[in-house]
């Protein structure tokens, strides 16, 4: 029994020691197939030299394209080869010599992944999940090996060895993992293979080593010859999606690009690394490099069609864009940018782009329709083209010598022309590209770009999203206002098949630029029935912003509000009327009376009337209005006015505010907010028939002598009804700390009360129930046209009081509640009609 126990303890000790040893002793990976079950691939591996110098200058060292773009290189003697999968007819793999402009070979094979050009073989995965390698010279099949995982990531060639990686994503642990395999291209044999339970990236070569990213965090180096682990280290910074070798140095990145450096220890202060990022976010948010964890299909896909094409070089300051430029492909659009984000040129192709490759001063582009284009990298000029006999679904190219251009290339179109072509293209998939083109158009200093943007906006099939974007970018454009003005002028014309002007695109730009010349056009559009409700709101905003308190602006807004305040046209959206009324209210002068009258008119659209109440409560009219309506000090010898205005009554009551407040405070009724007085005032200013609401005997008893003592002044028009409301402001917590606390803690309605100004209870404005509708003016006799009585009155004319002589027995006030036949009293006598809209002028 004891011996059994000892044996068990010995076995446990052996197990523990094995576990500890395997985790800490840094045993290298075995060259044969090995399954690493858990933990980092770097567990126990020797550290990786991140900045190792390249040991051999093989074809797997720095990308030739990158080198060509960064340093003056002699013309490559090796022809550039293009490998592509066909889309038409039976599926084929074609290797095309771009220098000789002829096919090298054509193999009938259905590929599952995009063909990849290596040193002397073209590799891909066929429909039977076999990794196939064809001789790049003759097209013979060099090897065919099963791919163990579902997704083939790619391969790299070092000498005769092709190292391929595949991965499978699954929720089942036993199915999840990656495999890296070394295949001898001479006989197709598998030299070594590693299976790991986590994700590996597409392999890259550095000398005699092959490197992969493991789980986006570690760089794992393997000896090409035997598959042993040459080094492993976690990389510093965020997770990496791709790995690239630049002259022995490692570049990694996700959306950015950075030099791969070992992760600091716990005590090492984190130092920021120099990153290269795109200067702005592009549609579909492409990274500088596509992810190396993704499998690229042979069929049509976004790979190649949407993405960034940038050659990178590693400098002491970090990675940089080779040539200081990068390209962005979006299906049929190609945008060439400088490193600082300045667009250099753009091009719209007739078919989707499946491949772009910077080749020194040229940009090679292959399209789905089989077009091969050599574009000047600096100006986008079309230097030469070739036409493949196939439609292409996916392709890859290795750098080398391309064909020579013959003849003089046609001049490149201007950037504006190119962008306009892209923006106007009707391919529904290209909406993000069209928006990008619109944004770039808006950045141009050429004023004519505004015209292109307007054309884009008015294009029949322009999606609403594009229109909204164009309107947004036009709104902030500082030039090209002339085009906006020109587009504002002509209205809808059925006979000329001319649509209504695109006001949503025009007006914000005019406002942004403060273009006051647009005011007449805006007024014309305000009364254009083809201006939509949304646009009317914009137009009103434009008139307010550009016209301010000018007579043209105010008279047009007054005419607009007056004309439509009771009309059903604005039933669905009264915001334009509300905005116009707000501007009139703030402008003061006669417009205040207009707004008040509209607020009282029972025919006013209910939404408008509801919106006017808080508007009128929140925004006080200009002081000039108060001066206008406030009673002037009457000279003793002055003749009595014809009638007593509401302002006069309010002013008289205001003189007794302290006494009235004392009466109200004596009630000790905190819920009391308004006390209303109705009374009859005789011509000599004496009062009678006083009624007070709420009906409290104590209150009536208190205020009656005060009202009787109030002097209302003598008028010529005889008795009149009067009504006045005394707004009771809450008297508590209006001052001091308590007030502040109340402001902070009170609900919004309470805070609104507390914010109310003390003067509001002595408001000199006419109470809302007083009917002084200036909208309607009885004209029994023809008016003599004033010198300035044109359709657009002057400022002075607008500011003058409105009105016409009232009937002799017309009351001053309307009933406090609807009577069977309510009346619209006329305005003050003696006032000259001044506004061309609501006061009629003599016709021609």
């Amino acid at each position: 029994m004891t011996s059994l126990r000892v044996a068990r303890l010995g076995a446990w000790a052996l197990c523990i020691s094995l576990i500890v040893e395997s985790g800490c002793a840094g045993q290298p990976h075995r060259p044969t197939t090995e399954v690493i079950v858990a933990g980092s691939v770097c567990s126990g591996a020797p550290p990786l030299a991140f900045a190792a110098e390249p040991q051999v200058s093989g074809p797997s060292a720095p990308s030739p394209a990158t080198v060509a773009a960064t340093e003056p290189q002699p013309q490559p003697t090796r022809p550039a080869l293009l490998a592509y999968a066909t889309a038409s007819g039976a599926p084929e793999l074609v290797l095309y010599d771009l220098a000789a402009a002829k096919e090298r070979f054509r193999v009938s094979v259905a590929l599952r992944n995009r063909p990849q050009l290596l040193d002397d073989v073209v590799v891909s995965v066929d429909a039977a999940s076999q990794l196939v390698g064809y001789d790049a010279s003759r097209g013979t099949l060099r090897f065919r090996t099963p791919v163990t995982r579902a997704s083939w990531l790619g391969a790299v060639q070092v000498g005769p060895i092709v190292i391929s990686a595949s991965t499978s994503l699954s929720f089942r642990p036993d199915e999840r993992g990656s495999t890296i395999t070394a295949i001898d291209t001479r006989d197709g044999s598998v030299r070594w293979q590693h299976d790991v339970s986590y994700a590996l990236s597409r392999p890259v070569a550095r000398g005699e080593q092959v490197l992969v990213l493991s789980d986006h965090a570690d760089v794992w180096a393997l000896n090409v010859s035997d598959g042993r682990t040459a080094g492993c280290a976690p990389v510093r910074g965020e997770a990496a999606d791709w790995l690239e070798v630049q002259r022995g140095q490692l570049l990694i990145g996700a959306s950015d690009a950075r030099r791969a450096e070992p992760a600091p220890s716990q005590n090492d202060a984190a130092q920021d690394v120099n990153r290269l990022r795109l200067p702005f976010e592009l549609p579909a948010r492409p990274s500088i490099r596509p992810s190396s964890y993704a499998s690229v299909p042979a069929g049509r896909s976004a790979y190649g069609r949407v993405g960034v094409d940038a050659s990178l070089e590693l400098t002491p300051a970090g990675p940089q864009l080779s040539g200081g430029r990068f390209g962005y492909v979006f299906y049929r659009d190609l945008f060439a940018y400088r490193a600082d984000g300045q667009l250099q040129w753009a091009h719209l192709f007739d078919a989707d782009v499946v491949l772009t490759q910077a080749l020194g001063d040229d940009w090679l582009v292959v399209t789905e329709s089989g077009g091969v284009y050599r574009l000047g990298a600096s100006d986008g000029s079309l230097r030469a083209t070739q036409q493949l006999r196939d439609r292409v679904t996916s392709a890859s190219v290795d750098a080398g010598r391309v064909w020579d251009a013959t003849g003089t290339p046609p001049p490149a179109p201007s950037l504006r022309e190119s962008l306009a072509r892209i923006a106007l293209d009707t391919d529904a998939r290209l909406l993000p590209g069209r928006k990008l083109a619109a944004s770039e158009l808006a950045k141009l200093a050429d004023p004519a770009a505004s015209e292109d943007l307007l054309r884009t906006y008015t294009e029949s099939y322009a999606p609403s999203e594009l229109r909204a974007h164009v309107a947004a970018v036009l709104a902030t454009r500082p030039v090209g206002v002339e085009y906006l003005l020109a587009a504002l002028a002509p209205g809808y014309d059925f006979l000329a098949s001319r649509p209504a002007p695109p006001l949503a695109a025009i007006v914000p730009g005019l406002i942004h630029n403060g273009e006051k010349r647009a005011l007449p056009g805006l007024v014309e559009r305000l009364f254009d029935p083809n201006t939509t409700l949304d646009e009317v709101r914009l137009v009103v905003d434009g008139i307010i912003a550009l016209g301010g308190n000018t007579p043209v602006a105010l008279s047009s807004l007054a005419r607009f509000v007056s004309m439509y305040h009771a009309d059903s046209s604005f039933g669905p959206d009264t915001s334009a009327l509300v905005a116009a009324s707000g501007a009139l209210w703030k402008a003061g002068a006669g417009e205040v009376k207009l707004v008040e009258a509209i607020a009282r008119d029972p025919a006013t659209v209910s939404d408008l009337r509801a919106a006017l109440v808080p508007l009128m409560a929140a925004a006080e009219p200009k002081p000039a209005v108060a001066a206008e309506v406030a009673p002037a000090p009457a000279a003793p010898t002055a003749a009595a006015p014809a009638r007593r205005s509401d302002a006069d009554i309010a002013h008289s009551f205001a003189e007794h505010t302290p006494e009235l407040r004392a009466c109200i405070d004596a009630l000790r009724d905190a819920s009391l907010r308004t006390v209303r007085f109705a009374l009859v005032i005789d011509a000599d200013g004496t009062t009678s028939q006083l009624h007070v609401w709420p009906e409290r005997p104590a209150l009536t008893q208190c205020v009656t002598p005060i009202v009787q003592a109030t002097r209302f002044g003598r008028v010529a028009s005889g008795r009149s009804m009067a009504s006045y409301s005394f707004v009771v402001r809450p008297a508590t917590e209006t001052d001091g700390v308590a007030s502040t606390r109340a402001h902070e803690e009170a609900p919004f309605w309470r805070r609104a009360e507390l914010r109310a100004t003390p003067q509001r209870d002595a408001d000199s404005r006419v109470p809302w129930w007083h009917d002084q509708n200036p909208l309607f003016v009885a004209v029994d006799e023809p008016l003599k046209p004033a010198a300035d009585a044109t359709s657009e009155p002057t400022r002075g004319a607008t500011a003058a009081p409105l009105g016409k002589p009232a009937p002799p027995k017309q009351p001053e006030v309307a009933p406090s509640h609807p009577s069977p036949t309510p009346t619209k009293p006329a305005a003050e006598p003696g006032a000259e009609p001044t506004d061309a809209w609501w006061l009629p002028t003599q016709s021609q």
């Binding site: 009309d567 109705a678 009804m721 309607f776 003016v777 009885a778």
Partner: protein
Amino acid sequence: MALACLNTLPAAALAVDSELIAVHPRDANQPLGKRLQTYDQAELLMVLDELAGSAVVDRDARAVSALLRAGQADVVTDHALDALGRLRSREGREVLLYFIHHRRADTRRRAYQALARIADPRDVKVIGAGLRDSSPQVRGSAASVLAEFPSAPGDVGLGSREVRTAIVDDLLLALSLGVYEAAGTIGKLGEADSVPRLTAQVGKLPLSVLLKGYANYLERRDLSDKVKLQIVAVLEDVSGGVVKDFLTAWLAQPEHRAASPELQKAIATAAARVRRLDAAPVTPVRPVMPGVDK
């Protein structure tokens, strides 16, 4: 109803209201301007609908114009525009020139009709611009009212050859774009050279539409028989039951007996020649089978 509401009010409010009501006796003898000073829509409509030509049409037109300028509910606006048309006073022109741009198409149509009834020669171009309106209803109305617009030689409206030519050009274009009401107006306003242009629409537009134009051409005394004979020849070429009915009906109208004998003869001949191509085919009678049919 209103009295019932009044009965529920406090005594003080009743006192105020009764005084107010007493101050405003409604009187049909009051000037129109005063009668229109009410928020009562029913009363407004009643007053507007009563309006017609009188000795004070200018004053009434100014009152209605002021009412319109003040902004009214839809129904009041429409009735007021109709009233201005009935008043036929030039005092109403100015406000109508605003309302031909109103947002509601029906309001624009009424404004154009009112302008046409006022018949100021200066407004011919304005009404012609109605052909460019976005609403088919307004375009049709503008085309129709132009046909009835009076003219006098030398006036600035249809009395001017340039204006008339421009209007007819627009009418022809509008007709080709589907404003069928333009056909009749072209027949009333167009010169001889407009006949072939109208004929160019044969086969493109319904024949019944074009016949309205041809009918008006044939009615006119300022057109020569030569032009009218051309029209008859065109109709004979077109042929069909519709043309035959048209020509036959034209001959049957008593007022056309004053037309030249040559034209009458040509129309009669054409009516006789034209065949009813669109007559329904005669249904063959199935023979009765003895023993089967009863």
